[in-house]
C-alpha cells in the first residue's frame, strides 16, 4: 500500500514531465529533448531564490516563472527558425539545447551536487507519517492530480485548448481557420515548461540536492512514459507516467531492485512490440 502511494507519487512527477513531451510533440511535431533540463533549471531557481529570500513560496513562484520564460525563449530562439526543417535537424538542435543548459548550469553552479537548503522542507503530518507515507509523497500525489485535472479541463473546455487540439490534428487546416500557430506553439512550450517546474519542485522534495544533470534521468524516464502512453496523447502521458512510477517503486522494494532501470526501459520495448502506437496512441492510417 505504502509502496503504491510512493509509486503513484513518483508516477505523477513522471506524468507531469511526460505531459510536456507529449504536448510539444502533438502540437509542434518535435521531440524536445531539452525538456528534462528545464526541470534542472527549475531546481536551481528554487535553490537560488531560497538562499536569497528563505521563502519557499517565493522559490516556487520564481521557478515557475523562470521555467515558463525559458521554455518560450528556447522555442523562439532555437526551434522556431527551424520550423519546416527536417525533423532530424530539430532533434539535433534539441539535444544541443539540452547540453547547452547542462553546460551553463555547470559553469554557473559547478558540477557538484548542492543541497537546496534547509528551508525547503515540508511539515510533518502526523496522521499520514505514522502509517509510513511521507508528506512529500502525499503532497506530490495530490498536487499532481489537481494539475492534471486542471490541464485536462483547460485543453477540453477553453478556446485556447481547442485551438491547441486543432493544431495538433491538422495544422494546415487550423492555420486556414485563422489560428495563429506560432502563438499556440509558444503557449504549449509555456505550459510544458511550467509543468516541468512543478516536477522539479516535487523532485526536490524527494531528493533535496541540485546538480546540472538532475533533469536527465527523470527526463528520459518521462519520455519513455510518454511513448508508452502513446506520444501526442495527453491521457496517454498521464497513464504512462503513473505506470512507470509505480513499477519503479515496486521494483525498488523487491529483490529485483538492482534491475529497476532495465525493467523500466524493457517495458517500453515490450509495449511497442505489442502496440506500436503506445497504450492510448492513435492508429495512424496510411493514406494510399
Amino acid at each position: 500500500m505504502i509502496t503504491l502511494i510512493d509509486g503513484l507519487s513518483l508516477g505523477s512527477i513522471y506524468a507531469l514531465i511526460a505531459l510536456g513531451y507529449t504536448m510539444v510533440y502533438g502540437i509542434a511535431k518535435m521531440l524536445n529533448f531539452a525538456h528534462g533540463d528545464i526541470i534542472m533549471v527549475g531546481a536551481y531557481a528554487i535553490m537560488v531564490t531560497l538562499a536569497a529570500t528563505v521563502s519557499p513560496i517565493a522559490a516556487i513562484i520564481a521557478a515557475i516563472v523562470i521555467c515558463t520564460i525559458l521554455g518560450i525563449l528556447v522555442e523562439k530562439l532555437a526551434y522556431k527558425p527551424l520550423r519546416g526543417a527536417s525533423p532530424l535537424a530539430v532533434l539535433i538542435t534539441a539535444i544541443g539545447v539540452s547540453y547547452f543548459l547542462q553546460g551553463l548550469a555547470q559553469l554557473v553552479f559547478g558540477s557538484q551536487p548542492k543541497p537546496v537548503g534547509s528551508a525547503w522542507k515540508l511539515p510533518a503530518i502526523k496522521a499520514i507519517n505514522d502509517i509510513g507515507i511521507t508528506t512529500s509523497a502525499a503532497v506530490t500525489l495530490i498536487c499532481g492530480i489537481i494539475i492534471m485535472v486542471a490541464l485536462t479541463l483547460f485543453i477540453k473546455y477553453t478556446k485556447t485548448g481547442s485551438a491547441m487540439l486543432a493544431v495538433s490534428e491538422d495544422r494546415g487546416a487550423a492555420i486556414l481557420m485563422g489560428v495563429n500557430v506560432n502563438k499556440i506553439i509558444s503557449i504549449t512550450f509555456a505550459i510544458g515548461s511550467a509543468l516541468a517546474a512543478f516536477a522539479g519542485m516535487f523532485y526536490l522534495f524527494q531528493i533535496p540536492n541540485t546538480e546540472p544533470t538532475l533533469g536527465a534521468m527523470p527526463g528520459i524516464t518521462a519520455f519513455t512514459a510518454a511513448v508508452i502512453g502513446g506520444i501526442g496523447s495527453i491521457p496517454g502521458a498521464m497513464v504512462g507516467g503513473v505506470l512507470l512510477g509505480v513499477i519503479e517503486k515496486f521494483c525498488l522494494a523487491s529483490p529485483l531492485a538492482p534491475y529497476t532501470v532495465a525493467i523500466k526501459f524493457s517495458l517500453l520495448i515490450v509495449i511497442l512490440l505489442v502496440k506500436p502506437t503506445g497504450l492510448l496512441g492513435k492508429v495512424v492510417r496510411e493514406k494510399v
Binding site: 478556446k159 487540439l165 486543432a166 490534428e169 486556414l176
Partner: protein
C-alpha cells in the same frame, strides 16, 4: 467604394518548370456567387491555395475588397476575410462538431479571452465560452447539424461533414468564402439541399462565394458568372449560360 470583392491580376505560380497557374484574372463582385470550373488538373485548387496564402504566387497580385493581400500569411489572410473549405474534407476529426465551429470563432474579437483567464477559470471565461457555444449552435442550425453538435466530427455521415466544413469556415466571419467542390460525393438530393443552403448563406450573410465544382447542374443552378480554367490558364469567362455553351469549353471538357 468599388463593388469588386476579389480581383486577381495576372496571378500565377510555377512549380519547377510547371506553370500550374498563369496570368489568371478574375473579378468577383460583392455578394456574387461565382464559379470556377475546369477539367481535372486545370489548376482550380491551386488558385484556392494562392488566394488563401498556402502558396505564394510567383507572379501577379490579388486584392480583397481593394486591399492587396499578396504574400500575406495564411492566418492573416483568413483574418482579412477569406475562408475556405477543402476538396478532401479536413475537419478536426477527434473534436466535437460544436468545437470544430468554435475553432473557427477563435479570432472573433467578441470572444476575446486570454489563456490566463481561461486557465484560472475566471467568470469571463465561462461567459465567453457560453457565448461562443451559442454562436456556434446558431451556425450549426443553418446547416441542420444542431442535433449532432456533441458527436465527434469523424462520426458524421459524409454529406454532413461537408456541411460542417462550410459552417466552420463561415465561423471565421469571412467576406469571401471559397468552397472547393462542396457537392463532391453527395447524392442528388443532398446536392439539392446544399444548393439551397449556399444560396441562403449568400443572401443572409451578404457573403461573396467562389466555388469550384464539377457538378454542372449545381454550377448552372446557382452561379451567376464563372471562369473556366484549362492548363492553368483562363479559357473562358462570363455569364454562366454563355460560358457553358462556349465551343472552346465544351471541347476542353469532352474533347474533339
Amino acid at each position: 467604394m468599388s463593388d469588386i470583392m476579389l480581383k486577381t491580376e495576372n496571378l500565377g505560380i510555377t512549380f519547377g518548370g510547371l506553370k500550374a497557374a498563369q496570368d489568371v484574372n478574375i473579378e468577383i463582385k460583392k455578394k456574387q456567387l461565382y464559379g470556377l470550373i475546369g477539367p481535372n488538373g486545370a489548376g482550380k485548387t491551386t488558385i484556392f491555395n494562392l488566394l488563401t496564402g498556402v502558396y505564394k504566387p510567383t507572379s501577379g497580385k490579388f486584392y480583397l475588397d481593394g486591399e492587396d493581400l499578396t504574400g500575406k500569411k495564411q492566418e492573416a489572410i483568413n483574418r482579412r476575410g477569406i475562408a475556405r473549405t477543402f476538396q478532401n474534407i479536413r475537419l478536426f476529426n477527434n473534436m466535437t462538431v460544436v468545437r470544430n465551429v468554435m475553432v473557427g470563432l477563435h479570432n472573433n474579437p467578441e470572444f476575446k479571452c486570454n489563456p490566463f483567464v481561461s486557465a484560472f477559470r475566471l467568470p469571463r471565461h465561462f461567459k465567453v465560452e457560453k457565448a461562443m457555444r451559442e454562436r456556434a449552435k446558431e451556425l450549426l442550425r443553418i446547416f441542420d447539424l444542431e442535433d449532432e453538435r456533441n458527436s465527434l466530427a469523424c462520426n458524421l455521415p459524409y454529406g454532413k461533414q461537408r456541411k460542417l466544413e462550410i459552417a466552420r469556415a463561415l465561423a471565421t466571419n469571412p467576406k469571401l468564402l471559397l468552397l472547393d467542390e462542396p457537392a463532391a460525393g453527395m447524392n442528388p438530393q443532398e446536392t439539392e439541399e446544399l444548393m439551397d443552403t449556399i444560396r441562403f448563406i449568400n443572401k443572409e450573410f451578404d457573403l461573396t462565394i467562389l466555388l469550384i465544382e464539377h457538378d454542372m447542374k449545381l454550377v448552372g443552378g446557382i452561379c451567376e458568372e464563372l471562369t473556366v480554367l484549362n492548363f492553368g490558364k483562363v479559357l473562358s469567362e462570363g455569364e454562366t449560360k454563355v460560358v457553358l455553351n462556349d465551343p472552346e469549353v465544351i471541347k476542353a471538357y469532352i474533347g474533339d
